[in-house]
Amino acid sequence: MRFDSLLDSLGGTPLVGLPRLSPSEDVRLWAKLEDRNPTGSVKDRPAFYMIEKAEKDGLLTPGCTILEPTSGNTGISLAMVAKLRGYRMVCVMPENTSAERRQLLEMWGARIISSPAAGGSNEAVRVAKGLAAENPDWVMLYQYGNEANALAHYETTGPEILADLPSVTHFVAGLGTTGTLMGVGRYLREQVPDVKIVAAEPRYGELVYGLRNIDEGFIPELYDDSVLTTRFSVGSRDALRRTRELLEQEGIFAGISTGGALHAAIGMAAKAVKAGERADIVFVVADGGWKYLSTGAYGGTLEEAEAHLEGQLWA
């Protein structure tokens, strides 16, 4: 395949079957390898769409500064596009994210402002909103509420999946900004009767939920629960176990949130087997495992790996 530039090569990622992890010939699991994007994550799609849209709307002009609260992947994608398009990039990132993410952001020229570990991404959003108010000339693309985030998946990821697997019955992805699930979910619901859209939400250690008040929670503006069939909370133990299974059984080296999505996908597969129904279950490999090597996720016992992840934002 030949492309005019790196950005032109975005998307068009492989959908690969999992012959060993699939329970039967009638109930099959399929991995959408989103790590095969320019910066190595699914976030390249929304980052490119959000910047393109802001340019079209006249919000972004040469020399502008982009501001974004991000636990990593979105920031990395935005930093890459920003570098190519001549924008400055400022990321607000919780301090409890992996060292590799920081290194990658700096490599693509982003400036990082740390937000407190306690409160996780909620705090990053709060700090970023404060900075946006103090710096009115900065452009916050705001992945949690930017329709272009979900639109990227509605226009690209969803159609790619359906073209490769017209018999798709389930779509499973991690729940963060909710953009992947909203975009692919809406598209598939329009095209595939009775398709099931399943969210796998990471459940972190306690520190991350350290809000001052339960009324200070956060729900992304993009989130519309009518798009989902159901939603699972996946703890770090199950996510790690599945991440390792994916590596050992199928050879796929994925990040930890992918293990969470796989866990939900395997749960849906078990339900289909029990009900005697056929199923083609697609789940998203959001990124590769490279950025998480320093977290200890891939070595030692599961207990040790789980202990290393305590207090980390692993998705």
């Binding site: 949690y144 939400e201 939920y209 339960i214 929670g217 159901t230 699972f232």
Partner: protein
């Protein structure tokens, strides 16, 4: 046997610091009412007159109860219920 309910840090002032408490009931609503007899005020932090509070997520055996039956979701001995505040991802 009973139903184990995992309590988030910010509500442990109502459970004497306990990370998990046990209760009984046929539905989630009954379970919360039962918990409230031993941990007064807990139910009001989870539920308002419209149902589950906006930023409260409740999971029955890891599945979000909003996609099951909300407060009317059936629960039984041996189930695990987890309460968490809604947080951002991404």
């Amino acid at each position: 046997m009973a139903i184990e309910v995992r309590i988030p840090t910010i509500l442990r002032n109502l459970t004497d610091g306990a990370k998990a408490v046990e209760g009984k009931g046929g539905t989630l609503d009954e379970l919360f009412a039962d918990l409230d007899t031993r941990h007064p005020g807990l139910r009001a932090r989870l539920v308002d007159d419209k149902g589950l509070r906006k930023f409260v997520n409740v999971y029955l055996n890891d599945e979000d109860v909003r996609f099951l039956g909300g407060l009317e979701t059936a629960v039984s001995d041996g189930d695990g219920v987890t309460i968490l505040p809604a947080v951002a991802g991404g």
